[in-house]
Symmetry: C2
Subunit: 256 residues, 2 copies
């Protein structure tokens, strides 16, 4: 393997459909454009959140376009489990060894279980390692639930922040909600956050109890799926017509 | 027109390709998936940033799928120019009258010149109006330069903010850069911003002069185009290998 003799491969950021874990799945060309499908079909080396999900994704790609290598011959490397758990942003994990195949001339696809890798998902350590190695990093178009949710919220798309998960403990969560509301109302910056689905109802209750009546709250769920729903109303209106919290993955946003 | 007799239309958020203003343009199915193309082809009523761009977009859609109505018969309403200029987030502009056709049963497409409407682009006033009228708001998958740039930067995708444009005046700009760097280093939150292309070089110089050597700076340009480029390195490395600033639209990000 000689970097001098071989032109290095690229790191392709390959978005995955948002129907991960759903009972029914549509053909993936509904949400992945032709350039993304072509790049995925041509790629034979992968760094991923989950090898099983990656094979399921490639099977779906292969139903639409011939894969450059059969499934059994794809080179699939999982990010260490530790990296999933605590997220892989920050020091302490060197992803450069995962990119050896690129130095040998192969494009490497980075794939998470759903949506855009490295956004609200593992992968940023791999992207940083690629830059540190001088590799070309190419992001491909596909679904990203945060951005779809923000656009659908009607909240401020000129100034917004995604802050991940809120604390689980009730008092800490309430304090964080108030802190984010103060920031949003003072600066106009929309604040976006997510929650593990089984805690959606608790988070929604906490929001409706802690936020001011005039603050706008948006909740999106099922984005790109048949049951896609975004509800964006002032808190006062939510309180008057409080429906059930979404059961699946949801994106919450607040702002003036 | 009777809302009781007709089921109301939806507000579709239709992303546009990022090759706006480029000399060469690829077929749009490279960046727009099938569900987005199908929805755009079926839509006959539009609220948009620019009517001419909307017709050009529909012409490109029509080359791939039959339009429900010929171009000449599409109903296209521009957002008031004043709304473009100062952005349409904030009070003072009531977009509900633009959505009359939805109350009469027609889906309405919201379209900006490039990328996702209502994100770093006009449109959020229209989305809020749709929610206030009780209409379904459906965001469609397509390119969004901010998110592609963030993923490609390797910066923190679990905690990030988009803050729009920095001040133009040199001293104010330098102060704002330092403020954003302090925030990014203290909280770990990646800070994303944009600039008018002819000021890219001035902004890049200001960043390299004001930021600390260990801060990571990422600059993305040409995303989804043939000359797509993301450079993400510590400021020290940028100073040692300082290439030219991008000539077209660019996204800048900083973080630890």
């Amino acid at each position: 393997m000689s970097a001098a003799a071989t032109s290095p491969g690229r790191l392709l950021l390959v978005p995955a459909p948002l129907d991960f874990g759903c009972d029914t799945q549509s053909p993936i060309d509904a949400v992945l454009p032709a350039a993304t499908l072509a790049a995925a079909a041509a790629t034979t080396h992968w760094v991923c959140e989950n090898a099983k999900t990656t094979r399921a994704f490639l099977k779906r790609v292969g139903e639409l376009r011939p894969l450059a290598q059969p499934l059994q011959q794809q080179h699939i490397v999982e990010l260490p489990r530790e990296v999933h758990k605590k997220g892989d942003h920050g020091p302490g994990f060197d992803a450069r060894p995962l990119l050896q195949a690129a130095l040998a001339g192969h494009d490497i696809g980075l794939l998470s279980e759903a949506g855009m890798p490295a956004i609200a998902d593992p992968g940023s350590s791999v992207v940083r390692a690629a830059h540190d190695l001088g590799l070309t990093v190419l992001p491909l178009v596909g679904p990203c639930s945060l951005l779809l949710a923000l656009a659908a919220s009607g909240l401020n798309g000129q100034n917004f922040a995604f802050v991940g998960y809120l604390p689980q403990e009730a008092a800490a969560r309430q304090q964080r909600i108030r802190e984010l509301e103060v920031l949003a109302l003072r600066t106009g910056q929309a604040q976006i956050f997510i929650e593990t689905p089984y805690r959606n109802a608790a988070l929604l209750s906490a929001l409706l109890s802690a936020l001011q009546p005039g603050t706008r709250l948006s909740v999106s769920s099922g984005l790109t799926l048949d049951d896609a729903l975004t509800r964006s109303l002032p808190v006062q209106a939510w309180r008057e017509r409080h429906g059930p919290a979404p059961e699946g993955p949801a994106v919450f946003s607040i702002g003036p």
